[in-house]
Subunit: 399 residues, 4 copies
């Protein structure tokens, strides 16, 4: 039952989440060395998580002789360098979201990994939440018919670390921070082979005194005709709202990952400490989640990554997926500036997907628009005469 | 305690909802005569609701000597004629949504009512749901700060009557049917004096074999900078989804009017009949509402209308409001065709509204982007240096 | 459309709820005169609700020449006198819950009303919430099969007025205050003709320094075998929890009347005032209800009362029902003392109800305990051999 | 990172859940051999989960030379023998719930494990759900003050396997199957050092044609004065209802583990297969959970068990806990027969717990019963004069 030994790059909040996951439960993979730009933070981090070594030498961390996997948990502007080093070292590399600040940068990272022939996993945790995985499977099994519209939302009051707020370092604002999750969630539901064709996006800076967007909404038109819609905000009040909704011709899925998951607590005050990521209050009605790293997808994400490495197959989320997400975000930022639908420009590998099908039912030569079951068991049909364009209704026997 | 005597025009589903409301509980207003294009439907309706008279003569119904109020509950293409007759008869006229099929038509109806000096009430029930009324008041009282983004959604599997599906008779598809509700809900939350400036709208016909849209999403930019977003669909599966969400600088409001209101029932089958409007199944988990006409706003709507008549004041929802809604929908349809943000063209009476304000807090010469309370009571500040554009964080004493 | 003119006795919180309801919406019934023990409170109340007259003379209020209905909204220890006066005046009398402090007192009130031949309505609002009314109808229509277990809960942090806390004036603690609601809700679901046979009750005073119970739970065994279970508390934290659950052989009903009804608001503070009855906080996540007097049943309750008077029929909730509730509470208090199941002693008028029926299905001579549908459509049967008492399972063809 | 090698005894539903957990994600512990009474079931099971060996020889399975841990996943009547064999083999033994059919049997199992000096872990999964673990910690941290009342409910339509229905093999009905979970959940919330003193229990067989109870409710009085209340049923319709509620002097916790966890799906039919344990329908509104073995506590349970073995400490749930649960269930069955509060008879090791404390606040010599904050910021006090027993209220300055 041998596991993997990991070089972890970065000691921010996401590094904590990752290591908490890897070293949690009965996992067999371990962080061997952690790299931090600050020796103090590195030491504190390695002690917090019982990691044998810490270093401020990026190259040494990557090239550590006992590790076979490099996890990039650094700010966006440091991803490309780190990925390049890992690829050069011939190690599997797992990179946090977003892959790049732009599609161009992401493409270079994809290329370097593919050229080196190393495993490239895209650490898109929210595509791996247990609810999302089960919902994707239900959709693939046909439980809701053809997917017509997918909504994905991530909103909270804004990031915890200073660098997130600086678009020069990140590539943007709430879209680059949160929209990357939503886009990939949407792709999983409409099908990864369903090409994102064009994008309409609106951004605004409504509250925070910053140069980048603190609110955005976008529509993504896919080849099948399905629409992906994402909503992101750094100005939401009340915690962190993580919801996905999938509409299909035959059904509906609603997922709530954080604020309403069956755990409700009222406290008049007096308890201590941490409630949940982005919680705003410590008294009144609170809505914690059970096991945060499991609910947010970290557990299943790393399981898939390491199994994929072991089995010599790609992970569910690859560097190519990260690149596609960056391409969609690029189109979003262009659209937000032009006010126009903008094409998604990318090197597409996904094949083609046919249009949402609908061969309408017919009744006595008329098109059946809708069939309703009446309380007495009979059916009411809304019918259209294609020649005249007129609509009528008719009540017929049920069954 | 004298009430009003009403001429009701129309015997469709909405006529049933209206009369159920008016004749329900201990109300003192009564329908005296009902007009239907079909004598049979008129008779059945008058018997169902104990209405003294029914007629197929529209003019006679309007001019009935014992009524002082005319309620227009007819298909969209018949509103203008009916409103004209009522105005000519000098009677208060209450017209169902949407007011017109276009802003031009709505404007003529507004003009005829104003010229005649009669009361014109716009029967926009969903702005009057008890939850909406209380939420509007909370917003006006400052409970959530400045409104930044309002979402309103109405989706279901499609209308019950044939004429709804014929855009020639209605003016459009899901937008004209459902979007009109959402737009006016949004206006109530952002403030009626807040001018709708421009609109970006996407429509599609994804499922039903019809010429008009069965799905749409739109953004409305208001003068204050606030965004209104509506989502409508005739292809939703699972019942009728009626939700509104209001985001403010200081808080959040989530309203669910129909599918999740605290009434949950599982039945293995065997009960009878009607569960709720647009319910799709009669077994399994069902989500009825308590008093449907109250929850959907009909009760408070008519109370406001009749009190307004009695008190000689305008109702909360007037013909002018109906006209504004039509103007926004016109812009939506234009935008859906051009793919561009389109201006809302209308005769604006609402004055002007200032931009969502934000005078950022400062700390030692730096702009405070965000202030978080740490578990130990200290505060973490995200700070921006306006000169360099750099961001830093700093932990300071709480308080 | 003539309504009723009312003498209202009492100006406490319940008087406000009643008058808010009666004078709300488009109601045609009006309070003509209000009695208060305090002239100041009477004047303030009459001004608040636009009531023509107020008085401190109980007899004069009851005998007011222009009123035909007396509403008793006084503390429990004043009910009997007021009901006696109203009956003597030959007026319809509507009395708030609980009817008496004991079954003996309630029985005298029932007798005086019946002797006088006047209408006696029991103002049990929570049996009239719109959700409860619709759920009762669903049960009567067979939607959940035979009722097996009904749970009703009312809990909050304790009453607002001093007299509630004094068992000498009320007859008890949380049971007499809140349990009376639950018992009558249970009776409506199991059927009013279903005799409450015996009771097991546990009470405790866990938090408040008072002589009476601040927490209680009870089981009521009905003739059909169904169990009613109520839970009441004056020590609940987080608002007012009002929930009912009905289990049947064929289905389940869950009602949430107050804390989770589809209205959710987060506020960082800054709004004003009243959120909802018994709300504990004015910031953080709040859960208001839409129209409180409608949601709590007051609207439908008074509609039924006045219609019943107009139609010469008993109301859904009568003085006899109030008496039965008192008899059950008496048994609860006895059981809490003895620790034993105690018989419900009452003058039963409800007839008899047969046992929850179950003629078990048989399969090849064996009793079918349970039938499950497998994913492949076949059925799995759990079977019992009555001779040996042995259990086996068998998979058979579906259908 | 060496893990444990396991002898698994039993191939029923619980064996699947256990192995799914152990072999899931990146776990390092593995089942080496599985024992089944049926060679076919054993072979199928070992293939399903990639287990190296299967056998029908119980002793050989337990004594397998490569395993150090024995997991007992057999029907209740086989626990004692299996535990005895494992103890004799000197192996750590983990036994599924309930430990015994009676406290006497459980005590013998406790003794044999303690005599042999082997690790005895009680596989009580529902005390390990992530929500429960976090809630227990919140209670221990003081977030809700002193615990006053804990409710735990498990209800579903009845077990899947025949032997569950035979009280001779299990020791009872719904209590022995489900109540064991609830009792231990309650103990975790009131504190394991809080002695269960006495029990009042009501059981009934309302629906299924069996000799044992298909419904039960019980109250457990703890030394601190706190009450534990459990509700179990084999006749619930609508899936599996798993809820816990904890009331404290300062707060409230509500946990929903299964039917309402933020995953809602409507399907008109057409999908395939398994939704969730005990789901009753495959169409309409469905409520799956994300990762069932995580949500139900299996993941954290095994993590604690194996860590405890590695660290040489007892697990959170031990054989002693299993014995206490059996002792409480014995008292429940006695009480159900006598209709009396029955003492819990057990060899108590838990020490003593003081009474829920309340030193009432005082105001000008009077006892403060309750303090409410008024909308204007002032406080309303309900006061009691201890000499006279009279109650008054007083409005005072806030703060």
């Amino acid at each position: 039952m041998d596991g993997h030994r990991i070089s972890l790059l970065g000691t921010g909040l996401i590094g904590d989440f990752y290591t908490n996951t890897l070293h949690g439960q009965r996992g067999r993979d371990r962080v061997q060395v952690v790299y931090s730009r600050s020796a103090d933070r590195g030491t504190a981090f390695s002690e917090r998580w019982a990691i044998p070594e810490s270093t401020t030498d990026l190259v040494a961390a990557v090239q550590h002789p006992d590790t076979d996997v490099v996890i990039v948990a650094l700010p966006n502007f440091l991803h490309e360098e780190a990925v390049g080093l890992a690829a050069a070292a011939g190690k599997a590399v797992l990179c946090t979201k977003p892959l790049g600040r732009t599609a161009e940068e992401a493409k270079r990272m994809l290329d370097v990994v593919e050229s080196a022939g190393v495993f490239g996993g895209y650490l898109e945790d929210l595509c791996y939440t247990p609810k999302t995985l089960k919902a994707i499977k239900a959709v693939q099994d046909g439980a809701i018919g053809d997917v017509t519209w997918v909504r994905s939302r991530e909103t909270h009051p804004g990031p915890h670390s200073a660098w997130f707020w600086d678009g020069r370092l990140t590539g943007g604002g709430a879209i680059i921070d949160l929209g990357c999750h939503c886009i990939e969630i949407v792709r999983n539901f409409v099908g990864k082979g369903n090409r994102p064709v064009s994008v309409m996006c609106h951004t605004d800076t409504l509250v925070h005194p910053i140069a980048d967007e603190d609110n955005a909404v976008a529509l993504i038109r896919f080849e099948s005709g399905a629409i992906g819609q994402f909503e992101v905000s750094w100005t939401f009040r009340g915690g962190m709202d993580l919801r996905d909704e999938v509409a299909g011709t035959n059904g509906t899925i609603w997922l709530n990952h954080f604020l309403r998951t069956g755990f409700e607590m009222f406290t008049a005050g007096g308890g201590s400490g941490y409630v949940a990521e982005k919680a705003e209050t410590a008294a009144g009605w609170l809505f914690p989640v059970g096991d945060e790293v499991a609910e947010l997808g970290y557990v299943d994400m790393f399981s898939d990554m390491f199994r994929a490495i072991d089995e010599g197959r790609p992970a569910q989320e690859t560097f190519y997926d990260g690149y596609v997400v960056n391409a969609v975000m690029d189109a979003c930022y262009r659209s937000a500036k032009t006010g126009l639908w903008e094409d998604v420009v990318l090197d597409w590998r996904g094949g083609s997907t046919s249009r949402i099908s609908s061969t309408p039912e017919r009744y006595e030569g008329l098109v059946v628009i809708k069939r309703e079951i009446l309380p007495d068991g009979r059916h009411k049909l809304i019918l259209k005469d294609e020649a005249s364009g007129d609509f009528t209704d008719r009540v017929v026997a049920g069954g």
